[in-house]
């Protein structure tokens, strides 16, 4: 089913006209109401009057995650705080998260995007959708929640964790779809097997998977084991949250809702647009987001775009699976992790050397997050419990700042490579292709 066929199946020419109109409005709004954008545009020598069509977008400067950090918490807002109806946040460095504010219209538009995704997965008012994304500051839970209500389906707001209860409710209520990270879904399949749950008691037909990269092999495995169709949902907090795009029944790329979130692909080195269909960094401009517009926001996700009409009937551009990152961010158990976050936390501890090495892997469908650290010579002791306590303090601090619990491994002195310029500070053993 197509939720908004007028938009999702609009001709490319009409779409570009619509995008141009919306771009003019949002750029004028950002320039007039956000001191951040005004000074950024002025520095760059561009005025709202220079924007006529969507092609003029290349005249505009880029926005980065660092800009969000620098303007914490509310300096990028383009409306008075009295018009902001919700805040979400994702982890930042050392206690300073990235904050995003939404007006009522922004929430509606975000929800529209998710409704389009859910419809594309074949879900409607007859479905019962278990939202197993985390609720709270993370956009996953509430974003999906509103989307479920929008299409008139029943939302089961289980949130993340407590797998036993999740599986119980899934059987008792007869959930027909589940929204969670693909790795959590794989973990659930293991639990179903261990508990000898009869698959006849599980009525799932659709899995809505996102918030971390996943592979076609994972899709196959999930579809076989849960007897579902597994669909990708894409999004990021800075742009709104999940539902920036989603797959259709053809499973041949993630449709992006480009009347709301205009995508470009640029070369991450030169920042120039790449030739159509080529791989590069995905950049979004929110065309209908008023609280905190994002103009040419660099996602750092590497992918490519396909503008051919899809067999499902949609003309909405299709994005390939994310092929990597143009920075060193890793997504571990659905949480964004930057090595620089670990570094700044380590610096808070006088007992540790400022060197570390992160090792990420996937064992039994769960991401492992190991951080090797060295203790300063004077803090190595004869008492093992002191080192165990020291390790626990670091793990707790990282958990509270980044949002996931690492496995801290204290290693012998001088075993971690010292940074000589660009030291490799992390290795990811997970296979995404």
């Amino acid at each position: 089913m197509i939720w908004n066929s007028k938009i999702e199946c609009m001709s490319r020419d009409e779409m570009r006209i619509l995008q141009g109109e919306k771009l003019r409005k949002i750029v004028a709004h950002a320039y007039q109401n956000s001191p951040f954008y005004k000074s950024r545009f002025d520095e760059h020598g561009v005025k709202p009057e220079d924007i006529h069509t969507i092609d003029d977008i290349v005249k505009l400067p880029f926005t980065t995650k660092q800009d969000l950090r620098d303007n914490y918490p509310f300096n990028m807002m383009a409306v008075p705080m009295s018009d902001i109806v919700r805040l979400h946040a994702s982890s930042g460095t050392t206690g300073k998260p990235i904050v995003v504010g939404y007006t009522e219209t922004d929430i509606e538009n975000w929800t529209e995007g998710i409704a389009r995704c859910f419809s594309a997965y074949g879900l409607d008012k007859n479905d019962m959708i278990q939202v197993s994304y985390g609720y709270g500051l993370f956009t996953g839970g509430l974003g999906a929640h509103y989307g479920v209500q929008k299409i008139g389906a029943t939302v089961i707001p289980t949130g993340s964790g407590n797998t036993e209860k999740q599986l119980q409710l899934m059987q008792d209520f007869g959930s027909t779809a589940i929204a969670c990270t693909p790795s959590y879904a794989l973990y659930m399949t293991e639990e179903i097997r261990k508990r000898n749950i009869d698959m006849n008691n599980i009525k799932l037909k659709v899995g809505i998977f996102g918030a971390e990269p996943w592979t076609d092999n994972m899709r196959k495995e999930l579809e076989e084991k849960l007897q579902i169709k597994a669909y990708d949902i894409y999004g990021l907090t800075e742009i709104s949250g999940p539902g920036v795009g989603g797959e259709c029944e053809c499973q041949c790329g993630t449709h992006l809702w480009e009347d709301l979130f205009y995508p470009e692909i640029v070369d991450p080195e030169t920042l120039q647009p790449v030739a159509p269909g080529e791989k590069g960094e995905l950049v979004f401009t929110t065309l209908d987001k008023w609280g905190m517009p994002m103009i040419r926001y660099r996602t750092r996700d590497l992918t490519c775009l396909n503008y051919e009409k899809c067999a499902c009937g949609r003309t909405a551009v299709r994005m390939s699976k994310i092929m990597g990152r143009s920075d060193d961010m890793m997504i571990i158990r659905g949480v964004n992790v930057f090595p620089s976050q670990v570094e700044s936390i380590l610096l808070e501890f006088p007992e540790y050397e400022p060197y570390f090495f992160i090792e990420v892997d996937r064992v039994n469908n769960t991401d492992t997050f190991v951080i090797q650290v060295e203790v300063k010579p004077e803090y190595y002791t004869d008492q093992i419990n002191q080192l165990v306590k020291l390790r626990q303090r670091l793990a707790s601090r990282i958990q509270s700042v980044i949002g996931i619990q690492p496995d801290i491994k204290i290693v012998e002195p001088n075993t971690i490579e010292r940074s000589t310029g660009k030291a490799k500070r992390a290795i990811d053993h997970r296979k995404f292709e």
């Binding site: 203790v375 010579p377 004077e378 190595y380 002791t381 004869d382 008492q383 093992i384 080192l387 165990v388 491994k409 204290i410 290693v411 012998e412 002195p413 001088n414 075993t415």
Partner: protein, 132 residues
């Protein structure tokens, strides 16, 4: 009496202790007593060597990049017979001194036992133990 003990941090990897034993052996340093305690991914070897060689052992390990430290611990030489150790422990307990860790071995030739005891208050423990 108080003696000095070497503590060496070791990653939990095959051959780690062999490395240390070989290094000390090649430098003519004899271990008189030791114990290794471990957590999941690391361990600490606590080693007693001949008194006059402890500083050179420390420097040797340090120069090979080991995380090594020296701590004072209590050494008790007591008769190897039933109840001997109980007396020592009872006296420490009465004085409010608790045991962090200890290791011991019996010397059949002299009918004595040798104990290394690390406590919450090693100075006080030394006083108590020397008055036994």
């Amino acid at each position: 009496m108080l003696i000095r003990q070497l503590s060496v941090f070791l990653e939990n990897r095959q051959g780690k202790f062999a490395e240390i034993a070989r290094l000390l052996g090649n430098n003519d340093i004899n271990m008189k007593a030791f114990t290794v305690s471990e957590s999941a991914d690391f361990g600490i070897a606590r080693i007693i060597v001949e008194r006059e060689k402890i500083d050179s052992a420390y420097n040797l390990l340090k120069s090979h990049s080991y995380a090594v430290s020296i701590h004072q611990v209590n050494y008790l030489n007591s008769p190897n017979q039933p109840g001997a150790m109980a007396v020592a422990m009872e006296e420490l307990c009465k004085a409010g001194v608790s045991i962090e860790y200890m290791y011991a071995f019996a010397d059949d030739a002299s009918h004595n036992s040798h104990l290394v005891i690390r406590t919450s208050n090693d100075e006080l423990a030394n006083q108590i133990l020397s008055e036994l």
